[in-house]
């Protein structure tokens, strides 16, 4: 049990340290940014992204399926997955 804990710690360390160093390197060198966009990973959509609505105004794609059918499918899948979550959790309890 203690050995497993040590392995988890080592794996976690091996992931965290290089990830952190890489993130700092990316930030220091301004990698991955787009000159045309005055925002990045830290942006929150309407607050920080100018004219965000233009991306989502419905002009990019016309759905042949109505919104209400999509909402119905959305709710059905959500309800099914919630039941599955409870079922899996109950089985694991036993």
């Amino acid at each position: 049990m203690k050995r497993n804990g040590l392995i988890v710690k080592i794996i976690s360390f091996v992931i965290l340290v290089p990830s952190f160093i890489t993130a700092v390197y990316i930030m220091a060198n301004h990698l991955g940014l787009q000159d045309s966009l005055d925002f990045g990973a830290g942006a929150y959509y309407y607050a920080d992204m100018p004219n965000f609505w233009k991306w989502t105004d419905g002009g990019a794609y016309t759905s042949p399926v109505s919104m209400w059918v999509l909402i119905l499918l959305f709710l059905l899948w959500g309800a099914l997955m919630y039941k599955l979550w409870i079922w899996i959790d109950s089985r694991a309890d036993k």
């Binding site: 988890v8 990045g40 309407y46 607050a47 609505w53 105004d57 419905g58 959305f74």
Partner: protein, 459 residues
């Protein structure tokens, strides 16, 4: 004499909370009801200001500085006008709320004023060119709060205003207005399949992996990390943490991990997509479904090209709708299964669920429904967007106050203990890999053209 807050309790700061009011009194004195009232007051004033055009209700937003732009360039009369407006609006609403909760309004006001100064420092730092593009204000809010609490200590006179959940709930109700159900139609069945088929599967997988395989006992931390990974990073983590009654340190840990890996994914995912020849359509959809923050999704999608950008943002805009539903499901799940198991083995009644359910989630849904189905058809997306540009800034201020409060109530020892031997990191990475693989499979089925006709997208 300053006194440090020692224990990171659940998001609800029990040190300053009176007993939860019951019955009709709860409609104006419970924290959830007050978050709903304050949220809706901000929404109504914001909407009236934008639609009538008769006054400017926009709060202060620091312009980007650094990289050749001087910080002082933005400081002028208008700057101070917005600063005073922001302070007065938030101080008045939150102080009246504190009074209605049964707290001492004067003590709250004094503490809030200092907390607001700390929030200004946070927003100032996070507006710096590099910080603005890579790190969210939540990160700096935690750092500033932690620096205060772990050096000079959180003064006792500041404690009445250190109310994480109060600010978070209010911010979430305001955020509800920006969650438009109509976005579900943006990419039709393709978007629904990519954004919605995958998300709950990843949440269930991470829940099972975290609680049963890694045996993490802190279940609110597991679900907060799971939603941050599968939905949309910080915003989802905030909503779920509040719904699951997570500890402050659970939320700060989930957000920190999410921010770190968002930077990596924003840079590396477009590179890998280009190298593997996945193409803009499928690549953009993969980015939209897996990169946590909307800003990062847009930047990474743009790196692929116009089609990649459009697809990435469309998928992400659908995924953002999920926040409220998932927070609601988590609240019910924790009420009926997680909290129940520690209290009794009897089935939880509907009345009990209603009593325990965090009511701010209803405010979140109400704001979302009103924006989507009442106001949007009448005033159009451009006006809704203009209203949200105002409201989102108030939401950001509320969240900055919340995360600064978390930092003020946390010590470094607690953060170390929260890491529980590195398990949360393993959970995030395994969950994110599962998320990427499953999303890629669905994207391939939906958008490769081998199984279904390709969508006709205008760029």
């Amino acid at each position: 004499m300053s006194k440090t807050i020692d224990n990171a309790e659940v998001l609800q700061d029990k040190t300053v909370q009176p007993e939860k009011p019951k019955g009709i009194k709860a409609l104006w004195s419970s924290e959830d009801a007050l978050a709903n009232w304050i949220g809706f007051i901000l929404i109504i004033i914001g909407a009236v200001a934008v639609l009538s055009g008769s006054f400017d209700f926009s709060p202060l937003k620091f312009s980007t500085w650094g990289n050749g732009t001087n910080l002082l360039e933005q400081i002028n009369g208008a700057f101070f006008g917005k600063l005073i407006l922001t302070y007065l609006v938030l101080a008045v609403l939150f102080t009246v709320g504190a009074k209605l909760k049964g707290e001492n309004p004067l003590k709250f006001f004094v503490g809030f004023s200092v907390l607001f100064v700390l929030a200004i420092i946070v927003r100032l730092i996070s507006a710096e060119y590099t910080m603005n593009r890579y790190l969210e204000w939540a990160f700096f809010a935690l750092i500033v709060g932690l620096l205060v609490s772990n050096t000079i200590g959180t003064p006792s006179w500041l404690k009445p205003a250190v109310q994480t959940e109060y600010y978070i709930k209010t911010g979430l109700v305001v955020m509800g207005f920006s969650v438009l159900f109509s976005n579900i139609v943006n990419f039709g069945l393709y978007g629904l399949a990519i954004a919605w088929f995958v998300t709950p599967v990843v949440i269930i997988f991470m829940w099972f992996f975290g609680t049963r395989v890694l045996k993490i006992e802190n279940k609110p931390l597991v679900i907060t990390l799971a939603t941050a990974t599968s939905v949309c990073g910080t915003a989802a983590a905030i909503a779920t943490a509040a719904a699951a009654k997570a500890k402050k340190t659970d939320l700060s840990l989930a957000v920190s991990i999410s921010i770190l890996f968002t930077i990596l994914m924003m840079v590396f995912e477009p590179i890998i997509i280009r190298v593997t020849g996945l193409g803009q359509l499928m690549g953009g959809a993969l980015i939209g479904g897996t990169v946590d923050s909307t800003g990062a999704v847009t930047v990474a999608g743009t790196a692929l090209g116009e089609l990649g950008q459009t697809t990435a943002v469309l998928v992400k805009s659908i995924q953002n709708i999920l926040i409220g539903f998932i927070a609601f499901a988590v609240a019910v799940f924790f009420t009926t299964r997680v909290e129940k198991s520690s209290d009794s083995e009897q089935k939880v009644t509907a009345k009990e669920i209603w009593y325990r359910l965090p009511k701010f989630i209803l405010g979140f849904f109400a704001a979302s429904l009103i924006a989507s189905f009442v106001l949007l058809p009448v005033v159009g997306k451009e006006n809704i967007s203009a209203i949200n540009s105002v409201l989102d800034q108030y939401k950001n201020w509320a969240f900055v106050l919340a995360f600064t409060s978390i930092g003020l109530g946390t010590n470094f020892r607690e953060i170390k203990s929260q890491l529980t031997g590195g398990k949360p990191m393993i959970l995030y990475v395994v969950g994110q890999v599962f998320n990427i693989v499953l999303t890629l499979a669905v994207v391939y089925i939906a958008l490769s053209g081998k199984f279904f006709p390709l969508p006709n997208l205008a760029t």
